[in-house]
């Protein structure tokens, strides 16, 4: 068995090429999975006997909510790696994840409000699930603002890494909020420990949309980290060799 050298791609110069090769595949997967998921969720799946067609919001709401939490954990993870090993690429990855995470969190809240109105009779309640998800949005916004406020990129890496790591405890709070507190928000429909409480076709649509969101997030984050590498490594010899002035792709 050949040993994989995980540090090989820790150099931004090498990761830049790898990410570039991955972007089109992730983007194609995202497009195909989105079409498939939308076809199942909006066209094929029958209506729900209780919530009627308002339940179709689930095909965006749940995948976006999952991504909002997964991306925050990924951002905190790469922030920690960047801080501990003083690794530039890890910090750049965290920086690249934040905007997409913030958008997913906004979409989770937005679709939740549009779902809450017809089913609960209100756009918003200060319930534990909704409030902790709103705090997640503020954490993302705080992270991005802090980065934007510090000119020196390496100092911005360290300061924002601390914020990301301190805020990560909010993710299990979001996840378990529906068990720990009495919430208006319902419990999990899908869990690893028991059978899902929804029809097979609805579950299938939701999982396909979740995979689509994953593929989209990978495509966008790899594309963004490439731009961040180029912005931050401007003047580096390898980058000038790759993109001579006036000959950019």
């Amino acid at each position: 068995m050949t040993r994989i050298n995980w540090f090989y791609y820790a150099a931004p110069a090498r990761f830049y090429g790898l990410a570039g090769r991955l972007v089109p595949w992730c983007a194609a997967a995202a497009a195909l999975l989105t079409l498939w998921g939308l076809w199942i969720g909006l066209v094929v799946a029958p209506t729900d006997f209780q919530q009627r067609d308002s339940y179709r919001i689930i095909f965006i709401h749940v995948p976006a909510s999952w991504m909002s939490m997964v991306l925050y954990v990924a951002m905190a993870f790469w922030s920690a790696i960047g801080l501990i090993f003083n690794a530039r690429l890890a910090a750049m990855l965290a920086q690249a994840i934040a905007p997409t995470g913030a958008i997913m969190t906004f979409l989770s809240l937005w679709t939740g409000a549009l779902w809450g109105k017809p089913t609960w009779g209100t756009w918003w309640v200060w319930d534990a699930r909704l409030t902790s998800e709103l705090i997640l949005l503020f954490l993302y916004i705080g992270y991005l603002s802090l980065r934007g406020a510090i000119d020196d990129e390496r100092r911005a890496d360290r300061a924002s890494a601390v914020l990301a790591i301190v805020g990560v405890d909010n993710v299990p709070i979001i996840y378990f909020s529906v068990q720990w507190w009495n919430t208006l928000h319902q419990g999990a429909s899908v869990s690893l420990t028991r059978a899902p409480t929804m029809a097979a076709i609805m579950l299938q649509g939701m999982l396909v949309m979740a995979l689509a969101m994953w593929a989209y997030a990978f495509a966008v984050i790899f594309a963004r980290v490439r731009l961040i590498i180029r912005e931050r490594e401007q003047g580096a010899a390898w980058l000038r060799g790759l993109h001579p002035a006036g000959a950019l792709p």
Binding site: R52, I57, I103, L107, L114, W115, I201, L248
Partner: protein
């Protein structure tokens, strides 16, 4: 598990059983937000290229 469309007509599809505003408000804003993210990325790349 059948893959035949559930809807009998296009107007049924758009009405979403009376929940059209909520359903299309969710899917539409999601599409808009992701499109804006992609355009922002393209703008960022162009700025980088203009600087040379």
């Amino acid at each position: 598990m059948t893959l035949a469309p559930y809807w009998s007509s296009a107007s049924d599809f758009l009405a979403m059983g009376g929940y059209g505003l909520y359903v299309w408000g969710s899917f539409g804003v999601t599409a808009l937000a992701l499109l804006m993210e992609l355009l922002a990325l393209r703008g960022r790349r162009r700025r980088l290229e203009d600087e040379g």
